[in-house]
């Protein structure tokens, strides 16, 4: 029973981190119509940058401030050089971001090396929770993810830039005609997507291993969350990520992690086949 609780809790924590990352994937898809195969690698770049910050300054907390800013800058550069020239060609976007994924992975391997590293959590205490000693860092990671997701939704609904983003998503032509600089909105959106994935990397760094292939595992999970939640449905993405990870965590306590992953993949194909627009959509669009 304790194992079920522990893995279920880990599932929820992991799900919140995935939700943060998948949200980035979802806004990039929703606004730019780009299927971003490199999104898992954005997360991976976040973990590696966090490792670099920790390695040079010895302070992991700095990474929470520095890495998302670096991620935003890298995202803006990538949008300008790779994404803008292929705007509105979804099939090409898959190929281009696949190329991007190769570049990011190989650049990290060239500078960081191929051996996975482990980061020690900045908080090492545990607290008693539901009859088990639970790591405080994981609780902090969950709270930080919730805070970041909350901030993003506030940004989207309360600021001028957020309103522009929603307007461009709704109708790019009219938005441009109204004087909204759509191209700059695209660039900021992509950069925010990168920043969110890299922040997810900083949060998850002490929980997983730091490795140039870390993104390969996480990408299908993000896509699952985005699809089950409904493409472009941001709240659905968050809910789906947490549910999926919880489901996988609890399943993993009964069988083994691989079978649990197969289970959640089967669940996802069932959702795709029965309700392709996600389980949270009222009706088909």
């Amino acid at each position: 029973m304790e194992l079920v609780i522990a893995l279920g809790m880990n599932g929820i924590v992991w799900g919140l981190i995935i939700a943060l990352i998948a949200l980035g994937l979802s806004i990039i898809f929703g606004l730019l119509d780009i299927i971003n195969i490199a999104h898992g690698d954005f997360f991976m770049v976040g973990t590696v940058l966090a490792w670099f910050v920790f390695d040079t300054t010895g302070n992991y907390w700095l990474a929470f401030a520095i890495v998302p800013i670096l991620g935003f800058a890298i995202g803006a550069v990538i949008e300008y050089t790779v994404i803008q020239p292929i705007k509105n060609a979804a099939a090409l976007s898959i190929v281009a971001t696949f190329g991007l994924s190769i570049i990011l992975q190989e650049s990290v391997r060239a500078t960081f090396g191929a051996t996975p590293a482990r980061l020690t959590a900045p908080i090492e205490e545990t607290v008693p929770l539901f009859g088990l000693e639970y790591e405080v860092y994981r609780l902090f990671a969950a709270l930080l993810s919730i805070a970041a997701i909350g901030c993003f939704f506030l940004f989207l609904h309360r600021t001028k830039l957020g309103t522009w983003m929603r307007a461009v998503r709704f109708d790019p032509e009219t938005a441009t005609a109204m004087g909204i600089p759509a191209r700059r909105v695209y660039m900021v959106t992509f950069a925010i997507g990168f920043a969110m994935a890299s922040l997810g990397g900083v949060v998850a760094g002490p929980i997983t291993t730091v490795d140039f292939q870390a993104g390969v595992d996480i990408l299908p999970f993000c896509f699952m969350a985005v699809i089950i939640g409904g493409l472009g449905n941001l709240e659905g993405t968050v809910a789906a990520a947490v549910m999926l990870a919880f489901f996988e965590g609890v399943m993993a306590s009964f069988t083994d992690p691989t079978l649990a992953r197969i289970g959640s993949l089967c669940l996802m194909s069932a959702v795709l086949l029965v309700r392709p627009h996600g389980i949270f959509s009222g009706s088909t669009r």
Binding site: V82, I102, I103, E106, I227, L265
Partner: protein
């Protein structure tokens, strides 16, 4: 010369070079390039199966590695676990891949576009993880290796792929048959139906085509092609492994197909050859050559969205134009397709 004649001439030259490769490649570069040439042809079949679906029917499948892996495991399990001979194992691989494509396709082709691309990844991931965890049958992480059974053996005499020349010509023969088959299908009314579905599935349905059945047919044929490639690759490497079922392998096939030029029969060969030659040439010079491959992929997507096949067609049209009499003397008509 007309554009079609130039293309035909190019095809003949490539075919002759391919047949003569075991003689001139060792003289020009190195003997091991013959193997690389053979590998190129096998991988180009995987890219061709992506191209058949994406370039002709408009379905972007990111899961063709599933059928490639099924072909591999069919052969490896057939030989190593069931003790089958060469042809029965080959048959088992192809049949397993095609049957898998029928089942997966029956579900997947109900969806289109992003949903289709994603469900094909999901299907291939399910079987990737299944192959990883079902160790007694698949060997898990280590894969499954086997000793090569002979193709035919009559008394003392036997023909086997352990002879590199036999292996090379066997691969060429099978790959050639697959391309010929695709060529015939694409020229047939079925091929026309494929294109109709790609252009506009609503109109295709209105003129009485069964869109679901046409997409499923294409999916099964593509699964058959990918499975054949997988079976050949299992014989080529004498093993099967789950890593070939991972979505990254599918992704590479998609990249090769689009770089080569989706919607042209030989585009996948061009794309696959280019990237494998790059890999072989650059990997010796620079350990992190993949960065360059990624950059090339992005540059081709940006500057040649129709792929290298599209560039070639444009080049041929430019060469051919002065020698073809214009259909009308109207100068304005020149820019029309």
């Amino acid at each position: 010369m007309t554009a079609a004649a130039i293309n035909r001439l190019g095809l003949v030259v490539v075919a002759l070079l391919t047949l003569a490769a075991p003689w001139f490649l060792p003289l020009l570069v190195d003997g091991f390039w013959v193997d690389i040439y053979a590998e190129m042809l096998i991988w180009s079949l995987l890219a061709a199966s992506v191209n058949l679906l994406f370039g002709y029917v408009g379905l972007l499948s990111f899961g063709q590695a599933l059928f490639f892996g099924m072909g591999m495991y069919g052969v490896a399990i057939g030989v190593a676990k069931l003790g089958l001979g060469f042809w029965p194992a080959f048959g088992l691989g192809v049949v397993m891949a095609t049957a898998m494509a029928l089942v997966a396709g029956a579900l997947a082709v109900r969806l289109t576009w992003h949903y289709f691309a994603i469900i094909t990844v999901v299907f291939s991931l399910i079987f990737y993880f299944a192959a990883l965890s079902w160790k007694p049958l698949t060997g898990g992480d280590d894969g499954l290796s086997f000793t090569m059974p002979p193709i035919v053996s009559i008394g003392e005499w036997e023909l086997s792929l352990t002879d590199p020349t036999v292996q090379y010509y066997f691969i060429i023969a099978i790959v050639g048959v697959c391309y010929a088959l695709m060529g015939v299908i694409l020229k047939s009314p079925l091929g026309a139906a494929f294109r109709a579905v790609k252009e506009n599935d609503h109109r295709a349905a209105l003129i009485g085509l069964n869109v679901y059945l046409i997409r499923l047919t294409a999916f099964v044929i593509a699964g058959f092609i990918a499975g054949t490639a997988g079976a050949l690759f299992a014989f080529f490497g004498r093993y099967a492994s789950a890593s070939y079922m991972f979505y990254h392998v599918s992704g590479e096939a998609v990249v090769w197909a689009i770089i080569g030029g989706a919607g042209t029969l030989l585009g996948p060969v061009v794309g696959t050859s280019l990237l494998i030659v790059l890999r072989e040439e650059l990997s010796h010079a620079w350990e992190h050559y993949l960065i360059l491959v990624g950059i090339i992929v992005i540059l081709v997507v940006i500057f040649a969205p129709k792929g290298l096949g599209g560039l070639w067609q444009a080049l041929v049209r430019r060469i051919a134009r002065p020698e073809t009499p214009p259909p009308s003397t109207d100068a304005k008509g020149e820019d029309l397709p």
